[in-house]
């Protein structure tokens, strides 16, 4: 049988100093060969494992036959952002995890084929020409947040003839894929080109509007929006709550990534005015995808060494294997079973070292992973000139200021009816990370589509 075609990658030595994309994408020939591996299952399990239920066998069949336009159309009918998902989906946990071929050997590289099609679309200057829908419904929907959840809801609603405005607090649209996910995984010009279809659908994107400050939800309601979709993400950084976290040189991952991705601080000072201060021994705290992204950025910014501190072992690490492998190739070190307990500063208030404690694994916790327990007396010191804390985010409820009708859970996420995604205020819906907590692009998009469906139902009553 034909073996799974490997994704070509930028050679390691070219990755170390540049933010160029690492995964290079399939050539046409590679795509055709890979597509031929698909068994075209009658009852395809891969489709159910994709949060967006993309009709995978159908689009792959068209790739095999060289009918790319048709393939693109099929993907687009369930996924308006293949430009993002085709690059960043944790496919080994989503579609490809269920692929029949994967039972005995390697699954079909669905993700790479999706990317191939989206690249093909973009290379023609545009994604599938959308029929410009007429705003026949005479109703307006406001969407708060221009991340994957907000965009996919906007697309559905616009196609159905609703007037849609997306309000975005930052100066550019895209959400975390824009300001969080690094350039070497998702180039920003590719992402922005992939958002062009919104123009075509006549969805207006209003940047620099902070809901809760510039306008409140009440303003939107009284300005005649018939429904609101809250897609504000989970973007409030969590802290370790240990001494020294405010020292200079200690970053939260969100600030670090925002400087690099949104503000392009890696081009400072010649092409960007936003500085970043990364040097010497860099230590990243955390074990998820964000920690890996941050570590790989630090390598590219010229750190002497980059070490990830994680409190459990590699086995429990939630980060994706591919990305861990790439990080290792780029020289990132790992220090497992280590937990920081204090950041130590120099006389100028800049971090110089981290006091850590060794951990051992106890019985499993509620997530099923073995719980790390500190070993008394095992404290040790790690030198660090720059530290980046990447231990997660929670919802930033700024949008709800002045509007107490919407309930939040204990964890801070927005409470919704699980069936309809309506919040505790009629006509206001919520989805994406704001409801689920940190998840994935495809998951966030699927809640956006679902919300659009129930918003339409709400508006047609």
């Amino acid at each position: 049988m034909v073996e799974r075609i490997k994704m070509p990658e930028l050679p390691v030595e070219r990755r170390l100093k540049s933010f160029d994309e690492v995964a290079l994408g399939y050539s046409e020939e590679m795509a055709r060969v890979e597509a031929s591996r698909c068994l075209q299952c009658k009852n395809p399990p891969c489709v159910k494992a994709c949060p967006l239920n993309v009709n995978i066998p159908a689009f792959i069949r068209h790739v095999r036959e060289g009918n790319y336009e048709k393939a693109a159309e099929i993907i687009r009918s369930s996924n308006c952002l293949p430009v993002i998902t085709g690059r960043v989906c944790p496919y080994e946990r989503q579609c490809e995890s269920a692929c029949t071929l994967g039972k005995k050997g390697e699954p079909v590289s669905i993700n790479a084929l999706e990317r191939f099609i989206s690249d093909w679309e973009l290379s023609r200057g545009f994604c599938i020409p959308a029929k410009i829908p007429e705003k026949t419904k005479g109703k307006k929907v406001a969407i708060v947040g221009s991340g994957p959840a907000g965009i996919s809801a906007a697309e559905r609603l616009a196609l159905e003839g609703y007037e849609v405005s997306i309000f975005e607090a930052l100066h550019m649209p895209g959400g975390v894929p824009l300001y969080g996910i690094p350039e070497f995984k998702l180039p920003k010009d590719v992402l922005l080109k992939g958002l062009k279809f919104l123009d075509e659908l006549d969805v207006e994107i209003l940047t620099n509007v902070v809901i809760g400050r510039t306008l409140t939800l009440n303003d939107l309601l009284s300005d005649g929006y018939d429904a609101i979709f809250l897609a504000i993400g989970a973007n409030y950084p969590l802290s370790l709550g240990i001494p020294g976290e405010n020292l200079c040189g200690v970053y939260f991952a969100s600030e670090f990534l925002m400087r690099i991705n949104l503000m392009r601080a890696y081009k400072f000072p010649h092409e960007s005015d936003t500085p970043i201060s990364v040097y010497g021994h860099v230590v990243v705290v955390g074990g998820g995808d964000v920690a890996i992204d941050v570590a790989r950025c630090a390598v590219r910014l010229g750190a002497d060494s980059v070490t990830i501190l994680y409190r459990r072992t590699e086995k429990e690490m939630p980060a994706r294997k591919v990305e861990v492998r790439r990080a290792r190739e780029e020289g990132v070190h790992f220090s497992f079973l280590s937990q920081p307990i204090e950041f130590i500063g120099d006389e100028n208030g800049r971090v110089k070292a981290i006091k850590c404690i060794k951990m051992e694994l106890g019985p499993p916790d509620e997530t099923g992973r073995r719980r790390p327990i500190p070993i008394p007396g095992s404290e040790f010191i790690v030198d660090a000139d720059t530290v980046i804390v990447a231990i997660g985010q929670t919802v930033n409820p700024l949008a709800l200021r002045g509007f107490p009708h919407i309930k939040l859970s204990k964890k801070g996420t927005i409470v919704v009816d699980p069936e309809t995604l309506e919040t505790t205020y009629s006509g206001i819906f919520a989805g994406g990370d704001a409801v689920t907590g940190s998840s994935t692009v495809a998951m966030a998009m699927s809640t956006g589509r679902k919300a659009a469906h129930f918003i339409i139902r709400h508006l047609s009553r």
Binding site: S165, E168, A169, L170, H171, M172, P173, E204, I205, L206, T207, N208, V209, V210, R213, T214, L215, D219, D223, N235, Y236, P237, S239, E245, N246, L247, C248, G249, F252, S254, E255, M258, R259, M263, R264, K267, F268, P269, H270, E271, S272, D273, T274, P275, I276, S277, N348, G349, R350, N396, L398
Partner: protein, 286 residues
């Protein structure tokens, strides 16, 4: 409202008027209708001058909802403020977002003393205007290195019941520091106030806080840490207040002056000193 809305990529933020207030201190009026509609005293905007530009916070000094404009006053100290200072009337800047931060905590008081340092004297103006409308008694101490940096004198003195000028070189008003002046006013019991608000460098804020602590007067410090998004998403603006970490952009920018960790604030504000000087040198040759 609909007509105020601007789509992504449009450059609506046009400079309507511009004035030099002192050497390197400029006042500009910019079109930003949505901000003008909802601004409150004590709030700020974040601006970005051009595509490669940094996001920097500036206090909203005045606003006019019917003209749809806001007024900013800034000192040209680095690359971004210099770029802003070079923009001419009729030209536009790329992004203005706000109003950000919480409205000032002094707005409900009857007897208020406010202290501003240098360019930040301008930040007192919106609070003063509001307090005057409410009929509060207002005391202002305008402090600067030298007399020509005492800005917006007419507007501010007109709204103050008591107005004091202090300069460190003695070229105008009292010679000395704002803290010494405040101390003298309080010592001679000339001044009866319920609350003191100060805006300026952390060094000044710290010495003001030390004075008012002795007299047990509630004191509010308007802090200016480095900011990035101004939305509570990055954590860059975090400050330590009463041993707790707060985000100045969404929890502040005003905090209890007696609880702020000034050493930490000072060191964090200097974090990019060498980078800032480098970019200034490359782009402005200075």
């Amino acid at each position: 409202m609909e007509s105020y809305m601007l789509r992504w990529g449009e450059m609506p933020f046009k400079i309507i008027s511009k004035k030099k207030l002192a050497e390197k201190i400029k006042m500009i009026e910019i079109e930003a209708p949505l901000v003008a509609r909802s601004a409150m005293p004590g709030q700020f905007v974040i601006i970005r001058v051009d595509q490669r530009g940094e996001r920097i916070p500036l206090t909203i000094v005045d606003w006019n909802p019917s003209r749809g404009t806001i007024t900013l006053v800034f000192r040209e100290i680095g690359l971004t403020t210099m770029k802003l200072g070079r923009r001419r009337v009729g030209e536009e800047i790329l992004d203005v977002v706000g109003p950000l931060g919480n409205p000032s905590q002094v707005l409900n008081y009857d007897r208020v003393c406010m202290i501003g340092e240098g360019v930040r004297i301008s930040s007192l103006y919106p609070r003063l205007k509001y307090l005057k409308k409410c009929g509060s008694h207002t005391v202002v101490i305008a402090y600067a290195k030298s007399g020509d940096e005492i800005i917006m004198e007419d507007e501010i003195s007109r709204l103050s019941d008591e107005y004091y000028v202090v300069t460190s070189d003695g070229t105008r008003g009292f010679k000395g520091t704002a803290a010494i002046t405040l101390h003298n006013l309080l010592k001679e019991s000339k001044m009866k106030v319920e609350v003191v608000l100060a805006v300026g460098s952390p060094l000044m804020l710290r010495s003001i806080a030390a004075v008012t602590k002795r007299y047990q007067i509630r004191t509010i410090a308007d802090l200016s840490p480095i900011m990035l998004d101004g939305l509570g998403m990055c954590g860059c603006c975090r400050v330590i207040v009463g041993n707790e970490v707060k985000f100045a952009c969404i929890d502040g920018p005003e905090f209890d002056a007696h609880l702020v960790d000034y050493d930490n604030l000072i060191s964090r504000m200097k974090m990019y000193r060498s980078e800032e000087q480098l970019s200034l040198k490359i782009h402005m040759g200075g």
